[in-house]
């Protein structure tokens, strides 16, 4: 009984019940934060399993059509100084890594009460996400033009026999499904980041309460982590 009293008193001492973001069913702000974070991590685990299924499918098909996959991935490369190089893929990797850095800097700014900096870093992250999607658009339109479309839409014309085979079309089916699903995640990320920018501009985040910034940050990093695996598997097969 006496411990309960001290507990209540100690909470009063922190001024935590005064925080407008503190929901009554949590004992402390810290407990509330940890609970939200745990929920986010469980969601991220399902994201890994969602993409994991596609990665396993890709791996199985690559072991079945190794020759076709190597031939097909040449279409993801561009001519750089007379040598084939995965230019778009490499630039996008760098763009996404830098955007992960701006994101974590935004979280750090929110944690340390630097409200203007928070907004600035979040806007930078959105801009980098748009650059990523812009490059993806250029890449996709080249493939569309060549008829390298997924599944029944595959219409590539070539004298080379291997390009008409099942394995060649399978590569592009997986390529569009996996990079497409990843691209949808980037789009969702832009939406979430825009919502954060609106709230950050209202000055809602502080060292006392920055849970949404932190959780969207985690989401953004898992999107980056998935691209870290997509890039070598699609663009650097040999």
């Amino acid at each position: 009984m006496s411990t309960t009293t001290t507990d209540v008193q100690s909470h009063g001492g922190h001024g935590e019940p005064d925080n407008p973001h503190h929901q009554h069913h949590f004992a402390t702000m810290e407990q509330q934060f940890d609970t939200s974070k745990l929920g986010m991590w469980l969601f991220l685990a399902t994201e890994i399993l969602l993409f994991g299924g596609l990665f396993v499918g890709f791996g199985l098909m690559q072991s079945r059509y190794p020759r076709e996959f190597i031939e097909a991935h040449e279409h993801l490369k561009q001519d750089v100084f007379g040598r084939p190089f995965p230019l778009y893929g490499a630039i996008n990797t760098i763009v996404l890594l830098v955007s992960s850095w701006t994101m974590v800097m935004g979280v750090n700014a929110a944690q340390t009460d630097q409200k203007k900096k928070t907004v600035r870093y979040l806007v930078l992250t959105i801009l980098l996400a748009c650059v990523f999607l812009g490059i993806k658009y250029v890449e996709y339109s080249h493939k569309f033009h060549d008829g390298l479309l997924p599944g029944m839409f595959y219409a590539h014309q070539s004298e080379d026999l291997i390009k008409g085979t099942h394995g060649y079309a399978t590569f592009f089916a997986f390529y569009f499904m996996m990079t497409g699903l990843h691209g949808i995640h980037v789009l969702v990320g832009i939406g979430l980041l825009s919502w954060l920018v609106v709230r950050a501009r209202r000055g809602e985040f502080s060292s006392e309460y920055y849970t949404p910034v932190d959780l969207v940050g985690l989401y953004w990093h898992i999107v980056d982590m998935i691209w870290i695996y997509l890039f070598p598997l699609y663009y650097l097969i040999s």
């Binding site: 991590w41 994991g52 199985l60 079945r64 490499a90 990093h221 040999s238």
Partner: protein, 146 residues
């Protein structure tokens, strides 16, 4: 009471000051450096080791993102356990799928028309083309029951 408050203040301080721009920036450069290494490694031919090297570097990058950008190194271990569990189950999924496919003669059911010209099913193994099975001879014992 005072010790409780004190320990809590220390805790929140540790919460707010972990990480920091210097560590994040160093981590970014490490990640960019590893990206250059992956691209460079892909231009050499190590045979089947190429995939292993690419995945190993990608995993190091994923660990760096997880530890520093996702704060797992400073976090309560429960979050890291969830991430590791997800990868563990993905590993089990991957392993059993490859064990299954790797130990089969044929990827498709034997009576299915072949989709690719890599491994044609021999006629003797194709129930559609093989000789029809011999009809069973009627049992001579049927009469005796009557």
């Amino acid at each position: 009471m005072s010790s409780l408050t004190e320990s809590h203040t220390q805790h929140t301080e540790a919460h707010a000051h972990h990480g920091g721009p210097k560590i994040y920036t160093a981590n970014l450069f490490a990640l960019l450096f590893l990206t250059v290494i992956t691209v460079a490694a892909a231009s050499f031919n190590f045979g089947s080791a190429n995939v292993v090297i690419a995945l190993a570097i990608a995993t190091v990058k994923a660990i760096l993102v997880g530890l520093f950008f996702m704060h797992l190194i400073w976090d309560k271990p429960v979050n890291a356990i969830i991430l590791i569990a997800a990868f563990l189950f993905l590993g089990i999924f991957l392993m059993f799928d490859f064990l299954d496919v790797g130990t089969r003669d044929h990827l498709q059911p034997r009576n299915m028309p072949n989709m690719d010209n890599a491994t044609p099913v021999p006629d003797s193994m194709n129930p559609l083309k093989a000789a029809p099975p011999q009809p069973l001879t009627p049992a001579p014992a049927a009469e005796e029951h009557k």
